[in-house]
Symmetry: D2
Subunit: 304 residues, 4 copies
């Protein structure tokens, strides 16, 4: 299959969609991103890479970082992680407090905000230099030493992130956050503020397409079974309240962020990242979703 | 791969689990089923079939029938079906009224009870002889003319099904049920009371493993894309509130019923039905879930 | 105090408000009522009566009937009634199903629809000729033998009352409705369709201003303590989701209906009924609320 | 009426109830209070006072302080206070986050925790020396200069008060808390930690029985209409989720705290405070509720 030709075609076809939707504007640093950006990067587990458009411009990965933090926490505590997290889809607004109350402080899954806060708390408890080790982990799996978090973005997020603060305090009360709330929030906002380009993001997800093993280094981050399970989690809950629709139309495990990035994997084959900053009402990139839908349609690469 | 050997092994391994859980007892006709039953049936799209245990004893398929009724309704109205149904996971109790109120009469997906009632309503509106055509459809895709609905079970279900009556009345008020509530309930309870054996159930799901085409007849029930989408829906919402856990541990699209049956498909390969009457707190067969978990573990046949 | 002068003044002052709000239009028989109607009727426990405007035109009393049915059921079973009903304010939409699910079939209080359905069920179980005895009771306490229910209204209500049907089925499932759902609904809709004029309504509430005793007949319907308690219930929950605001601004126990009637009592003194068909978003008469607010303001007759 | 005789009798009758219920134990400083304490204090607006038992031992007034803070905020901003607060009963758990989310940051009423946090925020914005002026206000209306807040209690409350922190952060996000969350919480916990004896508490509520005017000083804190409205609010929502039951059984506006105090007023007559530390599942003093029920029963002093 000629991947380059396919993504070139998709690039042309979805470019008009970059005019639709709205760039995230709850903090200044995000709202100033140029909505005309569009990049598609594909990495095959055998080593080839393909790209078109703005694949080397770093952008704010936001919720995509939840896959990285979950992986790191899962490595540390294994299946015990499920004592503090559910693995069911959320069914409600992605940052709702309601569910936390009804389910006594246990978030539905690691990809809603509440779940990611618990994951951050687990990292704080299980790593000696949590932030350093987290950043190294992300740089390592993406093979990109230039990656950093944007501290201004992290600060802005914290200033507007009162709902996340409410979630953290509530779960602290339920004893499902154990480190000081401030520290958990600081880690979480730093993690979301990581900036990566589409090419590095695509590369960083290769281990999920390759049964837990980083293909170019041979490093096993997760077992075969764990990697499959993480893919299942992404399929259930990776695109906020549009996860069902994404599974229906695209049919691949994926994770999105309000910075306009979406990464998806086709197990045993490849990972793909699309970046286009304008997002829909669910927080997902308009052009990104359409690009991935066309990709699985043209390549018949759905898991179903 | 020697499927017969694998399912024989699983049969031996999970048999002790038939002593766990509880046979559904909300109606007499279900509670009298012998909990020692255990049957596993596999059909490959190329024609081979494998079986072990009680694969020829008919049992009440209950919610598994929702896949059949959805397929028939989807054939009739196509993507317009989504004007009356969501395709997101439910996130709450499988027969809850709360969500219907908050979302103005639109059920979250076709596999919760509310969704299946809307599907029944669509069949009533789009087929001249709804029940006859539905039953013929089920007999046809399973290649089993002996299949029938148990009227005593249907009657008992109706007598205890006040929550379904409440759902139907509520959606009628929201104009998302258009036929008389009594008729919709009658159809729905008859549909759930269909009795099939594991072998016929396994065979009936082959079209979902074969991209919409019934392999032994060549009949195309759904397009490639529609079949994939139905698989995605099952993965998101096929096992009540345990769907996420099933996707996580088993990794296949599947559908369960409180009669103790679970059917799953591995796309482009095979379908498998396990039947063991005792169910867990979520309404899913205890031995059935474990059998399928082992099947995908031994065969590495997860979609992820 | 010159009550006639006071209500004449209020009549003039609030008449412009009859142009605000909207006449209930969910059934034809209600929507055809002339919105220009305005009537105020006061009865003192010592026997005097005062009236202005359309106080002798019968109108649909709707939810005001819940006070009558509760009184009859309370007479029959006493404090045991609280095994099947709460006495707390509802806090949510007046006909919501959510609360019934979370509180296992027990309605919050007798004045929400679910509560009134349970009350109807209690009457059906405790009176030999439920409808006959209920109608006689209403005629008796209002000293008006011409009172009847409008069967066309009852029929229309039933045809549109799917939410009430849903509530009844749900509570039947929780075993808090014991008679056939159809019978409970029929009784309930007949009860709501009773037509009375403002003067008769005002007179009928006198026993609540007179500690349980009908003043002109001396008949004790309730004990002193029971009458006070019923007043407390009305203050907490008599005006749907506007009950708190009514207590705040008017300060009297009262009960409203979507037909535009509101009846209130000032204990040890008088009862007052205002009728003006146009209602606000909460289902309460716009002019009626303002008239009562002015009444307690001019007379300083609030219970607080 | 011989009030002293009546409260002496009640004191004897309810003393056995001090053995029921449970002293609040979520912070050490509260759990160490002797459950055998029982005090009843009555003040008539004409100047007489009556007392029996431990009426001069200061205890933690907790939520009773919400009446004081609301009065101070209401004095400052008048009816504009309702732009930021509802006046309907809550209908759910007294510190639930659910309602705040669904109603966009507006608490149901000033007596649930969320409402009291908004009230604290209003005081912080409208008084130059908020804490000093609040404390002076409480001392002034109770004519007791010895009153203080227990800083150890306030500190302990803050350490365990994660749900209140969650509420405050959430409302800050909805822009219904405008001062820094930390300052609002500090004020709130200091306010709840005020310690007063039953006699001072009873005296401090006299202005609510006297139409807004402190009887012994003649100072008008609120207008007649405002005082009535505050009484209405207390009746609707003064005893957490037991408010309806209290209105039903006692029939007076009142406010309780988890320290075991309850204060009630009979308008135009008197105020009464009962203190007994052991509380029921709703957070209200077991002996206190029974004492007040008997008081209105023996004196027929219900507002209904």
């Amino acid at each position: 299959m000629d991947y380059q030709e396919i993504i070139d075609r998709i690039y042309r076809e979805v470019q008009p969609l970059t005019a639709q939707g709205k760039v995230a504007d709850y903090i200044p640093a995000l709202s100033s991103v140029d909505r005309n950006n569009l990049g598609i990067s594909v990495h095959h587990i055998k080593g080839e890479k393909y790209g078109v458009g703005q694949v080397n411009i770093p952008f704010s990965i936001q919720s995509i970082s939840k896959v990285f933090s979950f992986t790191l926490a899962y490595e540390a505590v294994g299946e015990a992680i499920w004592e503090r997290l559910g693995k069911e889809p959320s069914g409600t607004a992605f940052n709702s407090l309601v569910q936390i109350e009804y389910e006594h402080g246990i978030p539905r899954n690691p990809f809603i905000n509440a779940g990611a806060l618990v994951v951050a708390d687990i990292i704080l408890s299980n790593y000696r230099y949590p932030w350093r080790e987290f950043l190294d982990f992300v740089r390592n799996i993406s093979n990109d030493d230039t990656i950093n978090s944007n501290e201004e973005v992290a600060r802005s997020e914290k200033e507007t992130g009162h709902r996340n603060a409410a979630l953290a305090h509530l779960m602290y009360g339920f004893k499902n956050i154990k480190n000081p709330v401030e520290e958990v929030l600081d880690f979480y906002f730093m993690q979301c503020a990581i900036e990566m380009c589409a090419e590095s993001l695509s590369r960083s997800f290769l281990f999920l397409a390759n049964h837990g093993v980083v293909p170019y280094s041979g490093e096993a981050l997760l077992s075969l079974s764990q990697a499959k399970r993480l893919n299942a989690l992404m399929l259930m809950a990776g695109l906020y309240n549009e996860s069902g629709d994404f599974a229906y139309k695209v049919g691949l495990p994926g994770k999105s962020g309000v910075g306009g990035g979406i990464v998806a994997v086709f197990p045993k084959n490849l990972s793909i990242c699309v970046w286009s900053p304008a997002i829909n009402e669910y927080g997902n990139s308009v052009a990104g979703i359409e690009a991935l839908k066309r990709f699985t349609s043209y390549t018949e690469m759905s898991v179903f």
